[in-house]
């Protein structure tokens, strides 16, 4: 089993979700994160003082899935999340040793 972690722009979440849905992938976990990278942040002003805010809101998507689906899903995510602008994000693939569904105790392929 593998885990895909994708860091994307927040407004692309719906597109990515729809793309994955279409290919029948119906499970994922998302969280709000902040990214630091090449994409420039914005300036904030507070009573005469200015601050540059480097950390930019991003969405992290986590999907655990059988290894044979990784390529397909990575491509789908890339296609949906891409805007050709700096800051579109990254996809990481990590190994997963075991997957268990809490409710049934099913494992691995059956659990996702």
């Amino acid at each position: 089993m593998k885990k895909i972690e994708a860091i994307i722009k927040p407004f692309k979440l719906d597109d990515v979700k729809d793309a994955l849905n279409e290919m029948g992938l119906k499970g994922m976990t998302i969280s709000e994160v902040k990214g630091y990278g090449r994409q420039k942040g914005h300036t904030e002003i507070y009573r005469g003082a200015e601050y540059v805010v480097d950390f930019i809101p991003k969405i992290k998507i986590e999907i655990v899935l059988p290894a044979d689906q990784v390529d397909l899903v990575v491509n789908k995510i890339r296609a949906a999340a891409n805007t050709d602008k700096i800051g579109d994000g990254k996809i990481f693939v990590l190994p997963v040793e075991r997957v268990i569904r809490v409710r049934t105790g099913e494992e691995n392929r059956d659990a996702v």
Partner: protein, 400 residues
């Protein structure tokens, strides 16, 4: 007339309460947008307190309430508040300057109401120009027609506290704004959720208490008519909230808190023109119908598909129109409506409403087109994505 301290006491506080409505509106609107636009939205209401105050002193009061010119506008006798005394004038028991202050508060909130239509996408400089131009070219004339001795006053149009001048007028302008500026990015596709509904309820509460100053204060004296107006205002607001909630419970299966807050505002809008002319029982009817009607107006908007972001058209336009006509039907105190044997009043009310709509639509359209040509109305797509707070004001609303 001689100064009456009771009337003056009442009008001092009523004026304060009407001022309070504009920041109340800022919070009401601010709670409804996405959190990335909360400050920009608040700003668009709040700053009317500055822009309009300044204009009012310079020429606004004079255009609206200066000695009449041709039944359509005031002259320039009162520029810089020259000739406006802090003693009482003819026909009033309160200082002239107090009347001037009370009326200022109405002039402030009217353009603020319109900002709900173009929320989440208007450029800040365009907003500034819009408020200054609109209040000068639309508000002052229409205000003069109805309250400054203009042609609608002569015709006998009833507008106790501003149904036509304020609500129909701003509602009509809002429709034009929503159409000219166009839909928000993602409208109809993405879920555009309120960021802070408790803040919206707070805003509604401030509007409600302020409206007592608005409606009862329009009597200009602390007497029976002010008392009646206060009672009808309360009833229309309360029953408006009930009406909206029951309508959406019936139609969508869920009574919402936002519905209760919106229904209260709808009831308040609808009772505004008639609050001092109708009896309490009719106020219940006017408010209840307003709650249902304005809710249906929003459903209709969704069908038609223009993006009046915070529903100024449905609540203020439609609610104000219903209130103006209802006044022509149910009036019985100090004037008579259709139901009390005077069908003519309904005609007059319709003429007043129609005139305000036509004038407001046309002039608002021209103003928007001119501003668009000068500075552009709308932030670019990327800016809209990021949110106006960061892009236009370099601020964020919350760091909680």
């Amino acid at each position: 007339m001689e100064l009456n301290t009771g009337d003056t006491a009442f009008m001092l506080i009523a004026t304060a309460l009407v001022m309070f409505m504009t920041p109340g509106l800022a919070l009401f609107y601010g709670g409804l947008v996405r959190s990335k636009n909360v400050l920009a939205t608040i700003m668009q209401s709040f700053l009317c307190l500055g822009i309009v105050s300044l204009i009012w002193v310079v020429y606004g009061y004079s255009l609206a309430f200066g000695p009449d010119v041709g039944n359509v506008i005031g002259n320039l006798d009162f520029v810089f508040l020259n000739n406006v005394s802090w003693e009482t004038g003819a026909g009033r028991t309160i200082p002239d300057i107090l009347f001037c202050a009370f009326q200022l508060m109405f002039a402030i909130i009217t353009p603020a109401l319109i900002t709900g239509a173009f929320a989440e996408r208007m450029k800040f400089p365009a907003y500034l120009l819009f408020v200054a131009a609109w209040v000068s070219l639309v508000y002052f004339p229409v205000c003069h027609w109805v309250w400054g001795g203009g042609w609608l006053a002569d015709l006998g149009a009833l507008d106790f506290a501003g149904g036509t001048v304020i609500h129909i007028n701003s509602g009509a302008a809002a429709l034009v704004c929503a159409i000219v500026i166009g839909r928000r990015r993602g409208y109809g596709r993405d879920a555009i959720h309120p960021n802070n509904l408790p803040m919206t309820v707070l805003g509604a509460a401030i509007l409600w208490i302020g409206w007592f100053g608005f409606n009862a204060g329009s009597a200009l004296t602390a007497g029976p008519i002010a008392a009646l107006a206060l009672m009808t205002t309360q009833l229309a607001a309360g029953v408006g909230a009930l009406g909206w909630v029951l309508a959406e419970w019936k139609i969508q299966g869920r009574p919402t808190t936002l519905g209760a807050a919106s229904g209260a505002v709808a009831g308040l809008v609808a009772i505004t023109p008639g609050c001092g002319f109708v009896t309490p029982v009719w106020a219940v009817v006017i408010g209840g119908v307003a709650g249902v009607l304005c809710y249906l107006g929003i459903i209709l908007k969704t069908r038609i598909g223009y993006d009046d972001a915070l529903d100024v058209v449905a609540v203020h336009g439609l609610g104000g129109l219903w209130g103006a006509l209802a006044t022509g039907v149910f009036a019985s105190v100090g004037a008579k409506g259709l139901l009390y044997g005077n069908p003519h009043q309904l005609t007059v009310q319709a003429i007043g409403a129609g005139a305000a709509i036509v004038y407001s639509v046309v002039v608002t359209f021209v103003i928007l087109k001119v501003i668009d040509a000068i500075v552009g109305l709308r932030v670019d797509s990327e800016g809209e994505q990021q949110g106006l707070d960061v892009v236009e004001h370099s601020e964020v609303g919350y760091s909680i």
